[in-house]
């Protein structure tokens, strides 16, 4: 049985439109779940991440260097990197390598970012962390599916590539 996602816009700013996805028609998108979970337990770190997302949206745009790629070199069990697929990236807040709150995302271009879910990283490496790894794997799958949808023009760009266009009831299998 295939799973499917629907795309939902969660915020729009001058420089960036932010989206998330809902899985199998759940009421809450991955990003909203991320917020809900972490408002209760990691509020400070969540605040930093959301603040950063907003400042990027208002002032700077989603420049490449602002997003960190998941390092495949350290994550031997992950999907092999291919030239044409873009791996998911993440946004993170925290002082040390372990105990950071990590949010996975998919940066389409400087103006469009899809936000997924994430968790507290409790190990030095993502693949060693039971909290974070499932979110990373899910992010990977959905990103791949979204990429295909763009290739197949099920998701389109607007005229100046500052936003995406898609049917409101579009369902994408992953």
């Amino acid at each position: 049985m295939n799973n499917f996602v629907q795309i939902k816009r969660v915020a729009k700013y001058d420089k960036v439109s932010y989206y998330s996805v809902t899985i199998n028609a759940e009421p809450s998108s991955l990003f909203e779940q991320f917020i809900a979970t972490n408002t209760a337990i990691n509020k400070q770190k969540l605040y930093h991440i959301l603040d950063w997302i907003e400042v990027i949206g208002i002032n700077h745009g989603a420049k490449v260097h602002l997003f960190r790629p998941e390092s495949y070199l350290s994550d031997t069990s992950a999907l092999p990197p291919t030239g044409k697929e873009r791996e998911p990236t993440y946004i993170e807040d925290g002082q040390t390598e372990s105990n950071n709150l990590r949010l996975y995302c998919f940066r389409l271009n400087e103006n469009v970012v899809v936000l997924y879910n994430g968790d507290l990283k409790t190990a030095d490496k993502a693949q060693d962390c039971p909290n974070v790894k499932p979110h990373f794997l899910l992010a990977n799958k959905i990103t791949k599916a979204l990429e295909n949808s763009i290739k197949e023009r099920v998701i389109n760009w607007n005229e100046d590539c500052t936003d995406i266009i898609f049917d409101s009831d579009l369902e994408i299998a992953y």
Partner: protein, 128 residues
């Protein structure tokens, strides 16, 4: 801003306005460092080598999620041979008096003919 989950949450949970200010500064600095690297044709790994650090640390700096110390900024500035943050440039004000061509400046003054001591050699300054 309807349907803006992020802004709404931030408004609802704001406690300390300095967090926003810090985020803005961190991002400005990150973008500035990246811009300097690009203008010099350098990559993050080059900066890492100069500072004897892991590339992943430099990558983290460039995300704007890192709060810099002034000491780190100083070291980065030296390594890149360019100021990351400009401190106030020194200005030196010079004041001039401008005169209008009015008679009162010179009327009523008596003048005597001058004699000039001018050895025919050694007057190197040519002012024309």
């Amino acid at each position: 801003m309807e349907n803006n989950i992020i802004s709404n949450w931030l408004k609802e949970h704001e406690v300390d306005p300095s967090i926003r200010k810090t985020t803005e500064l961190n991002l400005e600095i990150a973008i500035r460092i990246n811009s300097i690297l690009e203008s010099k044709g350098l990559k993050p790994v080059d900066l890492a080598k100069k500072l004897n650090k892991n590339q992943s640390e430099i990558s983290k700096w460039l995300t704007g999620t890192h709060t810099f110390t002034t000491k780190t900024i100083a070291k980065i500035s030296l390594a890149l041979e360019q100021d990351v943050i400009y401190t106030e440039p020194k200005t030196n004000n010079v004041y001039f008096t401008v005169y209008r061509n009015e008679n009162t400046n010179y009327e009523g003054t008596e003048y005597e003919t001058s004699e000039i001591f001018a050895p025919s050699i050694d007057l190197e300054r040519n002012i024309s």
